[in-house]
């Protein structure tokens, strides 16, 4: 029977992975699926590479979703993005000039746990022998100002930075991949929820990034493109002042690792449903976010002074 995937409902991990295999099988010239490692509980960390076979000099964009388990709209967006990338004319054209690495579920163990046990779980499911609490905040575990302001060193806290940087196998795997491909990856995008914001570095300090004018202009154009869909307003700016100061984030690490355009999206909503964004809002949320991500990706094809 023909494989039907409903992009307007939330899926458990197994269905998302089946869908990835199907995309890989049915689009041999545009999709390449591979694993970059295994999670704490031993699950593969799958990534989809989109675009015609990567030439050494072809620029690339990294998109990860599901770093925080309870933010289900993130994986829903990554699935939506892949479908659009493979079907829309504009995106197909973009794929001739760019590659996209899409990781639909970064925190696979936590995501499964949020489906089976605790709907509002945020962290990984790693276990630190000495303490009774589980999990590390994936977005506090990166080797950039690790475990400083805005992170907690207490294992029971939701912003626990972990016993050491890159202690989480999921973080270590992504960091290794981004380090290996950093000459080609020109944009890093991490999808979170909720607050309706588009954030860029720095998170860990109140300072201005060197390429501020290019990044700021790109963020402005991206939120304008997003607004054009359904008039949803997203705030944008440096994470430290737009949201709050936090250390050890993937966005800051990606930027410090040489990726000039690093962003974090906080998708809908601003608090009416919070993490329980209804499935009826998947379509508008993903449609508007596609426009913003398209704007960022297209920006990479033009020089910025």
């Amino acid at each position: 029977s023909e494989f039907q995937h409903n992009y307007e409902v939330y899926h458990p991990l197994e269905e998302i992975q089946n869908w990835m295999f199907e995309m890989n099988r049915t689009h041999p010239h545009l999709v390449h699926m591979f694993s970059i490692g295994r999670s704490f509980e031993g699950r593969p960390l799958y990534v989809l590479q989109l675009g015609k076979r990567a030439q050494p000099r072809k620029k690339a964009v990294w998109i990860d979703c599901g770093a925080h388990a309870r933010e289900w709209i993130g994986p829903a967006f990554c699935q939506w993005f892949v479908r659009e990338a493979l079907t829309s004319y504009h995106m197909r054209r973009l794929l001739t000039q760019l590659s996209f690495y899409v990781m639909p579920v970064f925190n696979v163990d936590g995501y499964v746990f949020s489906w089976t046990t605790d709907r509002f779980w945020r962290k990984t499911r790693s276990k630190n022998g000495r303490f009774k609490c589980w999990g590390v905040d994936i977005n506090r575990n990166w080797r950039v100002k690790w475990c400083d302001e805005g992170a907690s060193s207490h294992p029971c806290d939701d912003t626990y930075c972990g016993p050491y940087p890159e202690s989480e196998p999921e973080v270590k795997a992504v960091a290794k991949f981004l380090r290996k491909h950093r000459k080609r990856i020109k944009a890093y995008i991490s999808i979170h929820a909720y607050a309706q914001m588009l954030l860029y570095p720095y998170s860990y300090k109140y300072a201005t990034i060197p390429n501020f004018s290019c990044v700021e202009d790109t963020a402005h154009k991206a939120v304008m493109a997003l607004y054009s869909a359904y008039r949803e307003r997203y705030r944008y700016g440096p994470a430290s002042t737009t949201l709050y100061v936090s250390s050890g984030s993937s966005m800051d690490w990606a930027y410090r690792n040489g990726i000039p355009y690093a962003f974090a999206f906080e998708l809908r909503d601003t608090g009416h449903y919070g993490f329980l964004l209804p499935e009826s809002l998947i379509r508008p949320t993903c449609t508007e976010t596609m426009r913003a991500v398209n704007t960022i990706a297209s920006r990479l094809l033009r020089k910025c002074p």
Partner: protein
């Protein structure tokens, strides 16, 4: 119900501290009260004029509202029955047809 109905009667309450004193009050409150902060993700990140959304169990909801009234901190209920919203969000999986 989903998750064995564990969120029945739970609520999500929003408050917005408008002064340094209110920020300190909420930080102390949520450092002690083991609550599920939805935003920001830690009590230490609470800041003036920033929304604070917290998920509390049915028992704690009344206590929290009483404490907020006592401190004259405005608040409103974002989600009055979390279990119902959890059920609404992902629909009943059995109704899903996937060919």
């Amino acid at each position: 119900g989903l998750y064995d109905g564990r969120y029945a009667g739970d609520q999500v309450i929003r408050m917005i501290p408008h002064s340094y004193e209110e920020v300190q009050f909420l930080r102390r409150l949520f450092e002690n009260l083991r609550a599920d902060l939805w935003q920001p993700n830690a009590a230490s990140l609470i800041r003036q004029d920033g929304a604070v959304d917290v998920h509390v169990g049915r028992g704690a909801a009344q206590e929290l509202k009483g404490r907020l009234r006592g401190a004259h901190i405005g608040h409103r209920v974002l989600i009055s029955n979390l279990q119902m919203e959890v059920e609404n969000q992902s629909g009943s999986r059995s109704s899903r047809s996937r060919r």
